[in-house]
């Protein structure tokens, strides 16, 4: 049975704003103030370092590079985000999804594999590594990093749709992986591709994998969202 969830497509959002937003929304989900929520967005160029990042070894950003560096509380090592990459931050209560962080990560990979399949790209897992890859030869197309507190998730995945993958190898040792190739959907399909084109398939895949029934936050002055407990309490005053 599907469970109601909010869907937020926020466009280009600075990393710090998105980080503060998802932490606060996680509090709201945890308190039952809002339903589970999935955010899709893009970031301006930013290198993020996780709890396991060895900055001395992994970061080799040129001095003139127009990129921000941000610390995060997600697991994993360093990675790069930039326009042309579809970022998905599910704020889910794992109490509704099996209370199993490993399974949650595998489910995110499954959602990515289904998203790629909608474009006839065969995404795969590689034993012992997190994320989604195209193989023969292996090249990484999507990264995953999550944080779980009180069983509520933050962070999520970043899918390379159409961006220059140079920063993954020349600016950082992304994910701590030496000599790893990174690719994009546009490169594999040999045509330009927008995150907007991919987002629809990504939303469907997340909805299927996590059995969610989305209501999207309106892009203009809409008629309002699902009733929430706060609405009933306001009506009774």
């Amino acid at each position: 049975m599907s469970r109601g969830a909010y869907l937020m497509s926020l466009g280009l959002v600075p990393y710090a704003e998105a980080f503060a937003l998802q932490r606060s929304l996680a509090g709201a989900v945890s308190q039952g103030a809002i339903p589970e929520t999935v955010i899709f967005l893009e970031h301006p160029p930013v290198v993020t370092v996780g709890r396991r990042t060895e900055t001395d070894v992994e970061l080799h950003i040129p001095e003139n590079a127009a990129v921000e560096i941000a610390e995060t509380d997600r697991g994993g090592k360093s990675t790069f985000h930039g326009p042309g990459q579809l970022v998905c931050y599910p704020i889910l209560d794992l109490g509704n999804h099996g209370k199993d962080v490993k399974r949650y990560v595998r489910d995110l990979e499954e959602a990515l594999i289904r998203t790629l399949a909608a474009f006839e790209l065969e995404g795969e897992r590689i034993e012992g590594l997190t994320g989604v890859w195209l193989t023969r030869p292996p090249r990484k197309i999507a990264s995953i990093g999550v944080h779980v507190s009180r069983w509520v998730t933050t962070h999520g995945y970043a899918l390379n749709v159409d961006l220059d993958p140079t920063p993954f190898t020349e600016w950082i040792t992304a994910c701590g992986l030496e000599d790893t190739a990174f690719t994009t959907m546009a490169r594999e399909l040999d045509r330009p591709l927008s995150t907007g084109e991919v987002r629809h398939a990504a939303i469907e895949a997340i909805a299927e994998v996590f059995a969610l029934d989305f209501e999207e936050l309106p892009a203009d002055e809409g008629s309002g969202l699902w009733p929430q407990p706060i609405h009933a309490s306001l009506a009774s005053r």
């Binding site: 466009g11 704003e17 937003l21 929304l25 509090g27 103030a33 936050l217 203009d220 809409g222």
Partner: protein, 74 residues
């Protein structure tokens, strides 16, 4: 200061922090709504709501503690 008073003070510190964060999200929401960025405004509005609920739960906790020690009406 007694342990009980320190615990009370801590609850109010936590409530203040939550209310500060709610205020910050409200300011950002207002800016996005003025810029016509409705989804981003709404996202921050819901984030503010979460902090209000957290603050309220801290204040409720103190109210329960207080009611447990107050004298019943004669």
């Amino acid at each position: 200061m007694s342990e009980r008073l320190e615990a009370t003070a801590k609850l109010y510190d936590e409530a203040a922090r939550e209310l500060d964060q709610a205020a910050r999200h409200c300011e950002v929401a207002a800016r996005h709504f003025r810029d016509g960025e409705v989804p981003r405004g709404a996202a921050h509005a819901w984030a503010a709501r979460g902090h209000l609920v957290e603050a309220e739960s801290r204040l409720d906790e103190q109210a329960r503690e207080h009611s447990g020690r107050s004298l019943p009406e004669a």
